[in-house]
Structure formats: C-alpha cells, structure tokens
Symmetry: none
Subunit: 210 residues, 2 copies
C-alpha cells in the first residue's frame, strides 16, 4: 500500500524540487501541492494524508499554525516542517506542537528522503545541523499571558499583527465575522488589554514573540 502526502510551500520552484524528489519514492503518492497555509489546512482535513510536508514561513497561516490546528483536532497525519532560518524558537515550537520531522531548506536531498521515511514509521527526524543552531540565544518570552491563548486565538492574533481586519480574517478562515469578533473579545480579556484598538497595538508591537 502506498503512503500519501501533501506538500505546502509558497515558493513554486522550491516546491517543484520537493515534489520531484518525493515522486522518486516509490511507496509515496502526493495527493496535493499547495502554496499557502489555509489551503494546506483544507487539503489535510479533506484528504487525510499520512504525512504533510509544510514550509514554516508561508503567507497567512504558517506551517506551524497548520500543524497546531490539525493536531489539536485528533488527526493521524504526521508532520514535517521546513524552514530557511536556523531559529531556535521555531524548533522549540515545532517540538512542543508534536511535529515529527524538522528539516532546513538548505539540507541535502538525502536528508529530506530520510526524514520522510523516518516520519512515516512514526519516528522523529531532525536536521543534522540541529546542534549548531540550538546554541543560538533564545528569545525570552515577556508575555506569559500568551501561553493562555488557544491555538485558534494565536492564529487570529498573528493575522491581526499582519494588519488583517476581522472581516478579512473571517474570510480567510471560512468562519463568521461574529466568531472572529468573539475570539477578539476573548483575547483582549485574556491579555488584559484596554482601550480602542488595543489589540491591534499589542499585536503589532509584540510581533515576533508569537
């Protein structure tokens, strides 16, 4: 029986390379290739692949956001994330969320193949360069309240920081604007914010912390 995969990356040429490499694995079938987080999420929910290979840095929902959202919904799909940057926070977040594969975009093709094989068996595989960048200084978290936010709330906070309005976010996530309004209220309450546009201000000024 063939394993199934979906691939998400917003760089068409890189994605082409990725799909080409994965196509060379005989026991793997690529169900879909998409270019953003929202499409990735929808594809995973619709097709339930054995493994999802996601770029972290994508417009809208990041690869980690997608993992977080899917994994919080009891899914069998295993996750491999890719990133350009040797960022300790990305790595820690990925491990916390339950990502099995962690690969740098400049890793060798063989690393990618080993990673997919390993993850399909349910094992972890992280980039060989991992020790090198784990020694980088960790950004300290000044906002412990952020931990109290749910996965959905964090995603919405991120989209607010990207200057998206509530109606825009609602359209992106395919829910009612009222729901976003509701989430906003809850976020404001959890973070203890006050005043007009306080959430937007918070989101913009603390961008990078979440």
């Amino acid at each position: 029986m063939k394993f199934t995969a979906i691939v998400a990356d917003d760089h068409p040429i890189f994605r082409k390379g990725l799909v080409e490499i994965l196509s060379e694995m005989k026991d793997l079938e690529i169900l879909a290739e998409v270019s953003n987080g929202i499409d990735a999420y929808q594809s995973i929910i619709a097709k339930r692949p054995d493994v999802a290979i996601l770029d972290i840095e994508m417009p809208g929902l990041s690869g980690l956001d997608v993992c977080n959202k899917v994994l919080s919904e009891k899914s069998e799909t295993k996750f491999i994330v890719l990133t350009m940057h040797r960022d300790k926070n990305f790595f820690n977040d990925a491990m916390k969320i339950g990502v099995l594969g962690y690969i740098l975009k400049d890793n060798a093709i063989t690393d990618m193949l080993l990673c997919v094989e390993s993850v399909l068996k349910g094992n972890k595989y992280v980039t060989p360069e991992i020790e090198e960048f784990l020694t980088l200084t960790e950004k300290e978290n000044d906002f412990p309240q952020l931990e109290k936010l749910t996965a959905t709330e964090k995603i919405i906070l991120k989209l607010i920081a990207e200057s998206k309005t509530s109606p825009e976010i609602a359209a992106l996530l395919f829910v009612s604007p009222n729901t976003i309004d509701n989430h906003r209220s809850n976020i404001v309450k959890k973070l203890g914010l006050e005043g007009k546009n306080s959430l937007l201000k918070f989101a913009i000024t603390s961008k990078g912390l979440f």
Copy 2:
C-alpha cells in the same frame, strides 16, 4: 542547435526544482549544476554556456561576484541571477554589472521560463515584482512623504503613535474632534495610506522616524 546552461545554487532542493523546470525546455541543455560560486566560475570558464543561472546568495563567491568576474573577461555567456530578498542594492548592482535576467526565488515557474527564453535572445528580463520592491526598499529607508506634513500634522502623527485616540488628541490640543478627524484625513492622503486603521499602523511601525 541546443542552447547550453549551467545552474548554480547552494540549496539542493531548490536547485533540483530549477534543473527540473529547465529540463522541460526542449532547446536547452544543462551542462552542469553546482552549489557554490567558485565551482560556478570554473564551470562557466570551462564550458562556456550560453546562459548561467546563478543564485546571488552563495557561500564564497556570490552570484554577482561570478558575473562580474566572467563579464570582465570578455565572455559571450549571458547571466540570470536569482535571489530570495527584495533588495534594491542587489538589483542595482546586477544591472550595473550587465546581468540580463533578474528573478526572485519566489517567482512563478513561468517567470523563470520566460526569463531564460528572453535572455537567450539577448534581451533583459526582470521579475514582475520589480517596481513593488524598488519602491518598498525606498519606503523602508526613509519617508520622503513625511516632509510634506505640516507642523500640526506631525504633532498629531506623534500623538497617534503614542496610542492616543482622536478625541484624546482633540482634548490635548484644545480643538474640536472634527479638526483632528480632518487632519487625520489629510495625513492619510499625503502619506498615501489605505485601509482601516492604516494610520495607526503606520504611526506605530514608523515611530522614531519623526
């Protein structure tokens, strides 16, 4: 007769995608694929391809270094450079050196193909997003529009950046809220801003510049 090319990029997966795309061009033969600037230079000197497709950001010699070196030695090889970053300086350097093709790594595959076709004919081809990032880097470096603001407008902009609302600013300056509303409109117009809360976003993110 087939045209010939060499490809240089230090990211194996991206390079794979690139080679795969170029292989689909029937009249193009890839003579070599390399992963750094030195190898790129030696390959070009040895094989004299019609076109060299080079990543700018490579270890050792950058793609632009390679172009510069080869072009100063009277070569017939045409150059296409690739970069991740929307950097005005890279672009200016490339044009100065005599690079014909300039493509962003997140451009579409069709852009890449059009670029190669164009460059092989001796014509220039630059990324479609070029105007966007040429104005973007300019905006990031300085805000010439800020000079057009009057003294009162600058004061109001500063107070907005301090998270004051229009009624608060009106109270502070002992004028009507309508007047502040009016100034806001004028500032928004002068700065060419658009969208909800765009002025607040601008004020916060460019705080320190005024």
